[in-house]
């Protein structure tokens, strides 16, 4: 089983459209949407949800009004400015302390040091994740709750679920739609993956962000390939992107024209390959052939199916029972 993750650094370069197209071209695949902040893959895949589960990324502090003695220890130890002395009165004090749930980082330090036993520290639901069925195979996706954190942990959950499904159903490829940026959810999306495809565009921002995102994949030692979307928007920068690819030893799998059909396909809830036969669709098909050859090459490499543990497995989260 191999895992291909599509990321971009810069947002809006066409990751989801490309993943959708690849899904319609791959023989069998498990689809994953790791952009849990703003998940869009479902809009083209129209998944039928088979299974839904709540996600808890951690605990949050809450002050029980009746027990708070307003000693102020919680506020002193909180590094995140989440505690304020403007809670409702009780029999002992005029103002109790209060936790701002959005600011609360979930470190639990306040509840540990509360001598009045007024602080509860309980797991909260930060989002939910789903296993669904689509016209191209199983799909694992998620939705982070409003103004919630721990998107990295949720990414780990959906990725490991997808891998499990791939093993159970004997599917060779896990195809991941990643988030933009280079931070926590991106790191969680790529650690331990076999291949990263960066979708970029010929803009100064695209070039700048590509450079940072390939530094990231290099940092984690993951084989990286490049697809130039909307390549004819700026031919000069497109050729700079090609030079960048040569210099960094990043193979360019294809160039896709700036085509309004991409948007029209999205509006009609189709992948570009389903929407048209030639144009951008033909270019995406060629790119897919390059990518699938690269995946086959990985399979024939002497290392075999050696996959690194993903970050989620490295975190000894289950080890502790409190």
């Amino acid at each position: 089983m191999r895992e291909l993750v599509v990321i971009s650094g810069k947002g809006g370069t066409g990751k989801t459209s490309i993943v959708g197209a690849f899904a319609s071209l791959a023989k069998r695949t498990v689809l994953v949407d790791c952009d849990v902040d703003a998940p869009d893959l479902a809009l083209i895949m129209k998944p039928y949800t088979l299974h839904r589960e709540n996600f808890s990324g951690g605990s949050k502090a809450h002050i029980r009004r009746t027990k708070c003695t307003a000693c102020g220890t919680c506020m002193d130890v909180c590094r995140f400015g989440a505690i304020t002395n403007d809670g409702p009165a009780n029999e002992m004090v005029k103002w109790t302390y209060r936790v701002d749930p959005i600011r609360c980082e979930g470190c639990g330090v306040c509840s540990h040091f509360c001598s009045a036993g007024a602080l509860s520290f309980l797991p909260v639901t930060n989002g939910e994740w789903y296993v669904s069925s689509t016209r191209f195979g199983p799909m694992v996706h998620a939705k982070l709750g409003v103004a919630q954190e721990n998107s990295g942990k949720l990414v780990n959950v959906v990725r490991s679920e997808a891998r499990k499904i791939a093993v159970e159903e004997d599917i060779d490829l896990v195809l991941v739609d990643g988030p933009p940026g280079i931070g926590c959810p991106v790191i969680a999306s790529i650690t331990g993956a076999d291949l990263v495809l960066v979708v970029t565009e010929p803009t100064l921002s695209g070039l700048h962000d590509l450079s940072r995102v390939t530094d990231l994949t290099k940092h984690f030692g993951i084989k990286t390939m490049l697809l130039i979307n909307k390549w004819d928007l700026n031919r000069e920068i497109a050729s700079e992107l090609e030079i960048f690819g040569q210099q960094r030893n990043v193979q360019i799998v294809g160039k896709v024209t700036y085509d309004k059909a991409m948007t029209k396909a999205q509006i009609s809830e189709k992948t570009i390959v389903e929407y048209q036969k030639d144009g951008a669709a033909a270019e995406v098909k060629r790119a897919w052939r390059e990518v699938s050859t690269a995946i086959d090459d990985l399979n024939s490499s002497p290392l075999g199916d050696l996959t690194l543990p993903i970050l989620g497995k490295m975190e000894p989260a289950e080890r502790k029972t409190r």
Binding site: G11, C107, L144, V146, P180, G181, G183, C184, E315
Partner: protein, 303 residues
């Protein structure tokens, strides 16, 4: 007045909008600060091309364990919610990337074996681009936690009539850290299914933070009128529509400011600005030239 430019979906035009707005404000002779909070992929500097006058490393405090004092009691590991410290029989390991710098381990340590040291997670740069005061942060590659650097970027903003925060895409912690404390949020979107889906998530986010906001539709005409319908149904103010114009995309691609390289778009940004000022303190409104205010009112009444 501090305004934040945000969007659920990436690539909708946050930086295009934020940099052009900053440029227009500077042209009008007000003091303006442009603050790039997308520390993972900062792009504003490519358009404003600032001269950097000050640079300093930003970090977070992570625990340092003095093994000579450590009694390997496990208390640090027990309090840590992020699995960033592990206590073994004769060793304590710290995983700096996972550490959220809550300081809990240092506080619980019974033998004061834990001190804290600063770990660099990125750099902060301050400078000037013509009349625009410029601040941005650059997250170190491989570092997962951006919020501490975003906080540092925001605290380095020089006092100005207007501060424009260019937020990262998404709806989670880095975005919340960026837009917190703003007087008004501009949500940029495009009229496509993806654009609308991510706009609705962003609207839920700003509502949870209780921030006033309005919507700017970029690439108007490219798709459907879904965003327009959504905003009307939910009584959300549409502040401006930027047409889907290949010239804008091309100017953007070469790192040009839209208002500067395509002057025909300057009135659009002027009237957007006037509308934003209406949501700010009254002294700002008073100083808006009446010409622009009237322009925006006329545009509004057409709808």
């Amino acid at each position: 007045m501090r305004i934040a430019v945000a969007s659920g979906k990436g690539g909708t035009g946050k930086t295009t909008l934020a940099t052009s707005l900053a440029w227009v404000v500077a042209q009008n002779g007000r003091t303006i600060a442009y603050v790039d909070c997308d520390v993972e992929e900062p792009n504003g500097h490519l358009f404003l091309r600032p001269e950097i006058s000050e640079e300093r490393p930003i970090g977070k405090t992570i625990p340092y364990v003095d093994l000579a004092k450590c009694i390997f009691c496990d208390k640090c590991e027990e309090i840590c919610q992020f699995n960033a410290i592990a206590c073994f029989a004769k060793q304590v390991l710290v995983y700096p990337e996972l550490c959220h710098a809550c300081g809990g381990c240092r506080l619980v340590c019974p033998t004061a074996a834990i001190s804290e040291k600063l770990r660099e997670t990125g750099i902060l740069q301050v400078g000037r681009a013509g009349g625009v005061r410029f601040v941005h942060g650059i997250l170190k590659v491989g570092e997962p936690l951006s919020p501490p650097l975003i906080t540092a970027v925001k605290s380095a903003v020089p006092e100005s009539d207007l501060e424009i925060i260019d937020a990262p895409p998404g709806t989670s912690c880095p975005v919340i850290e960026s837009i917190r404390g703003s007087d008004y949020v501009l949500l940029v979107t495009e009229p496509t299914p993806f654009g609308l889906n991510d706009l609705t998530l962003a609207v839920e986010m700003v509502k949870a933070l209780k921030l006033p906001f309005g919507v700017v539709i970029n690439r108007a005409g490219v798709g459907v009128d879904n965003v327009l319908v959504y905003c009307q149904e939910n009584r959300i103010e549409i502040l401006a529509e930027i047409p889907d114009d290949r010239k804008i995309a091309e100017a953007y691609s070469s790192g040009n400011l839209i208002c500067e390289s395509l002057p025909e778009y300057r009135p659009l940004f002027e009237s957007l600005l006037a509308r934003i000022y209406l949501h700010g303190p009254t002294d700002l409104v008073g100083r808006v030239s009446t010409q622009f205010t009237q322009g925006s009112v006329e545009q509004g009444s057409k709808r």
